[in-house]
């Protein structure tokens, strides 16, 4: 079982969270020229590599906040967690 440190609530069990997918995906900015390719990359195309993966989790059975988690997709080691509006870098 994963143990995820919610930046709001502290270390919690995976059972309290639901997964939200790749957090590095950016929605194209509105009110400017957007190509089909930009939309495809936002809606469908994913890197999904082995190794470090920045992803969204929802603390559904806790504070109900969305958070970002950096996790290794082959070892499940969690390197860091942060609030959803914190910078990825």
């Amino acid at each position: 079982m994963l143990h995820i440190k919610c930046p709001h609530c502290g270390m919690r069990s995976q059972n309290e969270f639901s997964y939200g997918g790749d957090a590095s995906v950016k929605r194209p900015k509105l009110n400017q020229e957007i190509s089909d390719q930009d939309w495809d990359n936002f809606v469908y195309n994913r890197k999904s590599l082995r190794g470090k993966h920045l992803e969204l989790w929802h603390h559904l059975s806790g504070c109900r906040q969305w958070i970002k988690v950096e996790r290794d997709t082959s070892t499940h080691e969690i390197f860091r967690t942060m609030k959803a509006n914190e910078d990825n870098s």
Partner: protein, 418 residues
């Protein structure tokens, strides 16, 4: 190639079975091939077999990082079915059903195809309506489908929970009598043996490290066992699709997720159908050895781990026990996991790509095993003729761009959501 038959079996019994030929060779990679298939799983092996058999292309190598049949073809729950509603899925799968029926004879290898039937249980009136619609669509495409009411389901699987006080009572179910199971390892081995006998090189323990492109065309593949010159490459690597796509600077509508399965201790024959729970994600069948073979949801987050996590397994088995309470008395024998190439609409991709000579076969989600023969057949056609066959025309890569999604389950892009 030595034919497998009762006579050869008896003959070899006199020499304690030590004189059988090897089922396939262990060749050193040549410098050049006409076609290289990356991935020695069921689909890759089938592709090589049909390239040789249907298109007479035998200067072919299969490159496999591990060993053949060590990935998802050896990790699935062996279910074979064609109970799809959409035409593209239905016609493709039903074409595959024909190949399954002939497979043991075709490959001279007993794949133990057992058309025992599959029942999808319904737990509400609305679900019965949905199943009636799907059943009608199937029948229009020439696939057998029978809508069963509660009493009829009870006759077939009396061990399911038909008591009154259950959260998800059984209203009925949709049965495809011609669906079933097969011995998954035999499928890989049977294809490998036949492909090898027709001249295909099966190269194991050989990892792809890069690709050689020249003017937007495939010119070769670099591997841990040397560089190979080749003009046509078929990518057939399931859960590792994204890793190889990155080496080609491609980003695909595919995510890699982990799916678990498990078997119980072997028990006497109790279940002679494949059954799926309709109020969640759980499926079960009984193997010839007597084990109850079970599976269900993905673990739910991107994973290359090839081994699962307990919360999902617990969740899946809770559904199983809700459906068939006797399961709670069984001991678990084994659990395992495989990594799935989850496409963004739940349907696969068998297509050409923008790189000339690169062909893509991926996105099988958790339905890859049953598609093995049809996938190999159509992929071989696509590679040999350099154009898609009408059977895999719907499985195009650019459907995500044009909006022609094949969203069989209506799950949208989050196919990993349970």
């Amino acid at each position: 190639m030595q034919k497998y038959s009762i006579f050869n079996l008896i003959k070899n019994a006199f020499s304690n079975h030590i004189n059988w030929d090897l089922a396939w060779k262990d060749p050193t990679p040549k410098k050049e091939y006409d076609v290289v298939i990356i991935g020695g799983g069921g689909h890759g092996l089938a592709t090589a077999y049909y390239l040789a058999k249907e298109h007479n292309i035998t200067n072919v190598a299969i490159i496999e990082k591990g060993w053949i049949g060590g990935g998802n073809v050896g990790r699935n729950t062996t279910i074979i079915r064609s109970n799809y509603m959409h035409d593209d899925n239905a016609l493709f799968s039903e074409f595959g059903m024909d190949l399954w029926r002939k497979m043991s004879q075709d490959l001279n290898y007993n794949v133990m195809f057992s058309p025992r039937g599959i029942i999808n249980l319904a737990h509400s009136d609305a679900q019965m309506n949905v199943y009636a619609r799907r059943g009608n669509s199937m029948r229009l495409n020439g696939i057998d489908a029978v809508l069963l009411n509660r009493e009829q389901v009870k006759e077939v699987i009396p061990m399911a929970d038909f008591s009154d006080n259950v959260r998800f009572p059984i209203f009925g179910g949709l049965m495809q009598p011609s669906a079933g199971t097969a011995r998954h390892d035999a499928v890989a081995w049977g294809y490998a043996r036949q492909a090898d006998s027709m001249g295909v090189d099966i190269i194991q323990n050989c990892e792809v490290t890069g690709f050689d492109l020249e003017g937007g065309k495939i010119n070769g593949v670099r591997t841990s066992r040397g560089n190979i010159k080749v003009k046509k490459i078929g990518l057939c690597v399931a859960g590792s699709t994204n890793i190889l796509a990155e080496k080609l600077n491609m980003t695909l509508p595919v995510e890699t997720h982990l799916l678990q399965a498990c078997v119980s201790e072997p028990v006497k024959p109790v279940l002679d159908k494949v059954v799926t729970f309709g109020a969640g994600h759980f499926y079960i069948s009984q193997s010839d050895k007597g084990e109850m073979v079970m599976g269900g949801d993905l673990d739910g987050y991107n994973s290359y781990a090839q081994r699962g996590n307990l919360p999902t397994l617990q969740h899946v088995l809770t559904e199983g026990i809700a459906m068939m309470p006797f399961l709670s008395k069984l001991k678990m024998l084994r659990t395992w996991g495989g990594i799935m190439d989850m496409s963004m609409d739940g349907s696969p991709i068998i297509d050409k790509t923008h790189i000339e000579g690169l062909y893509l076969n991926c996105g099988w989600c958790y339905g890859g095993f049953k598609a093995t023969p049809a996938s190999g057949w159509t992929f071989a056609h696509t590679i040999a003729q350099d154009r898609v066959h009408k059977l895999n025309a719907g499985y195009s890569l650019n459907r995500f761009n044009t909006g022609h999604l094949l969203d069989e389950k209506g799950l949208g892009t989050k196919t990993w959501i349970s």
